[in-house]
């Protein structure tokens, strides 16, 4: 297996140019929303709105301004699939369509997916949706085809500010840690890494440098695996089966027993 690869996104240097979105759409031949007749969302400069089956990159614009708008800041973040080491989507997929590649990334094989949408409900980040053209669940592949050809993903290649950086996870983590220290030294004490270590779903192979709480960026503070409920859910179901069986047997068995008593000569 090749060394694990991924993205490190430094949100502090994102300028919201959306070159990543365009590069992603172009390379992956993703269709436009509503046949190109998009409407404005009214939410800052964000007309992409969310990640889905035809938007595998999404630049978020978070405006933090005082009411009189004399003071404030922009938070910009290019969101993408996190390629989790413990991937919820891969775990629940009943068809085997979602696989882990030799680069430790997570890819949906469109020819195997049947559109059951279990992965959509399982992903804690709301990354996956149905692509209306293929009728299958789709998301960022971390440009698996480009990586197999020795190229870097289209989005990081297009990023003009190095906000999106591509490389081996080990190298990216070192680089990101240095950047956090640099920001702390220059006074930006709020800077921290989101998903860069194993504590979050075994590590996110696409991790972030943030300067506010995760939920401000629309990221879950404590994402979990869906199978956390498997054992407890099954045990409680068995308890339900036991109770219903006891109620049923109690109601019918008495009658059966009394009937046998009556039938005895």
């Amino acid at each position: 297996m090749a060394e694990p690869m991924g993205f490190y996104t430094d949100t502090t240097v994102c300028i919201g140019c959306k070159a990543c979105e365009v590069a992603c759409k172009e390379w992956n031949q993703l269709p436009a929303t509503n046949g190109g007749k998009n409407t404005l969302s009214g939410d800052s400069y964000d007309n992409t709105r969310r990640l889905d089956g035809i938007h595998w990159r999404h630049v978020k614009f978070i405006e933090q301004f005082t009411d009189d708008r004399k003071d404030g800041r922009w938070l910009l973040m290019s969101d993408v699939c996190k390629h989790c080491v413990h991937a919820a989507c891969l775990e629940v997929c009943p068809t085997g369509a979602i696989i882990r590649t030799e680069f430790d990334t997570v890819v949906i094989q469109s020819d195997a997916c049947n559109g059951c949408r279990d992965c959509i409900a399982a992903c804690p980040f709301g990354v996956i949706e149905i692509n209306p053209v293929s009728g299958t669940a789709q998301k960022c592949t971390l440009c698996y085809d480009r990586m197999q050809g020795g190229l870097e993903p289209a989005c990081s290649k297009a990023c003009p500010t190095q906000s999106i950086q591509f490389g081996t996870i080990n190298e990216l983590r070192g680089r990101a840690q240095k950047r956090v220290e640099q920001l702390h030294q220059t006074g930006e004490k709020r800077a921290y890494l989101y998903g860069a270590d194993e504590k979050m779903l075994g590590g996110l192979n696409s991790f972030y440098l943030l300067v506010d709480k995760p939920e401000v960026y629309g990221l879950p503070p404590d994402p979990k695996m869906p199978t956390r409920n498997l054992i407890s859910g099954t045990m409680f179901s068995l308890l339900g089966v036991l109770l219903v069986s006891l109620i049923g047997i109690f109601n019918f068995r008495n009658r059966g027993a009394s009937e046998r008593e009556e039938a005895r000569p």
Binding site: G115, A121, K213, L219, P220, L230, F236, G240, I247
Partner: protein, 301 residues
């Protein structure tokens, strides 16, 4: 958490809508009816055999309808077989830790049992001329074996859907481990209600009918307890039901589908046969609404 009560609020809705809600209802009826039919066949008296057969008559069409609904809900319905066979290697596809994967297998196996028991019940009632099928119906040893194993699959089919919802990251569904238990209890109460309704419509008077009604009264009481436990286990996520879904839950499910049937049953002094049809119909309607609330409310968050 910035006004959000759980990390599950950042996931996306899978758009499981009417087909899935209806599947939950008919799948629950299929599994529950088979389970009750087996229970009556194994523990009931001989006069109750028509009631047991009725359970098998309900189970098979309901599981067929349920599977069709599930297939139609797929975005690529012709690829339904990918649930069972890996499309690249043609090897069996089975993930024990994925409720949708093992549920697919359970549906296949339960469907076979439901079909065999359906034919067995028809043969037992002499509706089909093939006497050999009578051997697969209790009280024969083979019939008892099939009823027991099929009953286990039936109860599995009725409950795995609740566990499936819990094994996601959606609000409500994955914020409680009790949905599987609720679904098992719901399937039992709905199936008992449908069997009572159909038996009364046919003017049957076997003693097992009263047993079944008494059982249903106990099961809907249990359902109320489990539903309250579900609501308590949701914690701050319960706020997601402070809307029209909460009103439906309160009046449609708890009021109309649980408390009113309980009151009708207990007020009749366990004798009031005239209430049986109304009580059963209310239980069916209440349970259907509960499934709608569970399926739709979690996707509107």
């Amino acid at each position: 958490m910035n006004g959000v009560p759980s990390s599950t609020y950042f996931s996306g809705p899978p758009e499981w809508r009417w087909f899935v809600a209806l599947y939950f209802f008919f799948g629950g009826l299929a599994g529950g009816s088979y389970f009750l039919a087996s229970l009556i066949a194994l523990f009931g008296r001989s006069e109750d055999r028509p009631l047991s057969r009725l359970g098998y008559y309900i189970a098979f069409p309901c599981v067929v309808l349920g599977v069709l609904l599930l297939i139609l809900d797929l975005q690529r319905p012709l690829r339904f077989w990918h649930m069972l066979i890996e499309s690249n290697t043609y090897q069996p596809m089975f993930k024990p830790w994925s409720p949708m994967s093992n549920g697919s297998w359970a549906l296949l196996l339960f469907g076979i049992f439901a079909f065999v028991s359906f034919l067995g019940a028809l043969a037992d009632a002499k509706h089909i001329p093939w006497a050999v099928w009578r051997k697969v119906h209790p009280p024969s040893l083979l019939g008892r074996f099939i009823a027991a194993i099929g009953g286990i699959f039936g109860v599995y089919v009725s409950g795995y859907t609740g566990v499936l919802l819990a094994v996601t990251n959606r609000p409500i569904w994955s914020d409680t481990p009790l949905l599987g238990m609720l679904f098992v209890v719901m399937a039992a109460s709905t199936s008992a209600a449908l069997m009572i309704l159909l038996a009364k419509k046919s003017r049957w008077t076997m003693p097992g009918l009263l047993d079944l009604q008494r059982m249903d009264a106990c099961v809907i009481s249990l359902e109320l307890i489990v539903l309250i436990a579900v609501m308590m286990s949701l914690g701050p996520v319960l706020r997601a039901w402070l809307n029209v879904w909460g009103l439906l839950l309160l009046f449609g499910v708890i009021g109309l589908g649980i408390l009113l049937p309980m009151a009708l049953y207990w007020r009749s002094g366990k004798r009031g046969e005239h209430n049986m049809i109304t009580t059963a119909a209310l239980v069916l309607v209440g349970n259907f609404i509960l499934r709608l609330v569970i399926v739709f409310s979690a996707q509107g968050v």
